[in-house]
Subunit: 273 residues, 2 copies
């Protein structure tokens, strides 16, 4: 959980609090006040909350300019809280929360941009943008799978890799793109191969991500083939995606996640009447 | 870990001990003695150990009759211990240990049998048998993935399902067989769909296994298409595999795992000179 103090349009450095979901169904007001208490004055401070909140999700297609924040009741009179709505899709069933805020931010900074926005993370989303609308999106559990499989493969649970332009990564990626159905046996080959063939942890991690991102690209092909791509996300998980897309000859614009969140919050601020 | 007392060719009911891998590299002799101590008399008792031991693995193709057990040194003079060798494959890199014992047991009971032996479990192996030889095999991490993903999907970590002939299972299976590359997004649809569409835990579990077994069948197609199949394994994990193979019109023989292990141990006993 992060918080920014925004004054006259400029944001402070983010404050980081404990990683509690500020889901407003069970919003722990205390967690919020503990984090931002020092910023509160006698007059009510506007607090915008992006993420999984009780603000109702809106169906896609959706226009970011029409995603009006929803007022929450909060006991502390120093706080005037609003939740930013997320997006829901019925088929395939899918939801996005803070990803929707960053898309809105990206589009407010890039008016008229058409293409696909990929947000790598524990859950990686791919959203198709056309004529200012978020048309459809699809989320993959690849990052979660990497995290869950790390102990099975004797790897640290978070990737420490910075360079993905390696033969181990590109070979695993190509194998997975060509035979994406082989994921569960490719993972077994990693489990067996690492000790038997003395594969380094570095290469095992590269092959794990190559297998997962390759399978994801095979399934998400309509989202990137012949498309203009923007990648928004933390660098550690975005890098293997950017390298994979580059490998496929797809031009990629990289946008900073915090900057897109702030732009999305600024847009939401303008929508509050 | 299980142990049987075998006397005049008949086995006792199995004793179950703590689930310590009896890997003989770091064989805890004490664990072994604690488990079977009551069975030991003044004269040395022959102890056969199947599983991951220091007995060297043998390359495939391999003939079960030629997998001679390897003598281990054990300090306790009441024990004369042998490890049963496992099997190794270099490409794709793969290993099997107790699965090899059960295959040897199955073949000793079914002389001249040709086909494919599938052993569902945490790691599911598929082994091709031809002219009395174990020709090649391939292992999948699907069971491990189901276990790891259970908390993400708010499921118990072991499947409690007994009936797999359900629409939820067969639909997920067919979807995965048709589009196996979509595994990471099918799993996300389960994560999202369960709360949004009020999918029961029972159906979520059926869909999880449908997605995993379907993707596995898509990758293992050469191992079952037009083949004679035997499935050996614990019922809880074998059932979705049997249902899936039946669904594909593949005739399946089901063999009891303990019985095959005992037959494999009996064969190994005959190989000790």
């Amino acid at each position: 959980m992060q918080a920014w103090l925004i004054h006259d349009g400029s944001a402070s450095a983010p404050l980081s609090g404990e990683n509690t979901a500020l889901a407003a169904q069970d919003l722990s007001e205390q967690v919020l006040i503990d984090l931002i208490g020092d910023w509160l004055g006698p007059r009510p401070t506007l607090v915008l909350i992006s993420g999984k909140t009780k603000a109702q999700v809106r169906p896609v297609p959706a226009v970011p300019n029409e995603l009006h924040p929803v007022r929450f009741s909060v006991a502390d009179a120093r706080v005037r809280a609003y939740g930013l709505p997320g997006l829901a899709q019925s088929s395939p069933p899918d939801l996005m929360h803070s990803d929707a805020t960053r898309i809105a931010g990206f589009l407010s900074l890039n008016q008229g941009w058409d293409g696909v926005i990929c947000q790598p993370g524990v859950y990686t989303s791919w959203a198709q943008i056309s004529a200012g609308e978020i048309v459809s999106f699809q989320t993959f559990l690849s990052g979660e799978m990497a995290r869950l499989l790390a102990p099975t493969l004797s790897l640290p649970d978070i990737t420490t890799q910075t360079d993905w332009a390696t033969p181990a990564y590109s070979r695993a990626l190509e194998d997975a793109l060509a035979r994406p159905e082989r994921l569960a046996t490719a993972l077994n080959a990693l489990r067996i191969g690492a000790p038997v063939q003395n594969v380094s942890k570095h290469d095992t991690q590269a092959r794990l991500w190559g297998a997962l991102v390759g399978a994801e690209l095979a399934a998400a092909r309509p989202y990137w083939l012949g498309q203009q791509l923007a990648v928004i996300g933390p660098a550690d998980i975005s890098n293997p995606y950017c390298e994979a897309l580059k490998h496929q000859g797809v031009p990629v614009t990289v946008a900073d996640a915090d900057r897109m969140t702030l732009a999305g919050l600024a847009l939401a601020r303008r929508l509050i009447t």
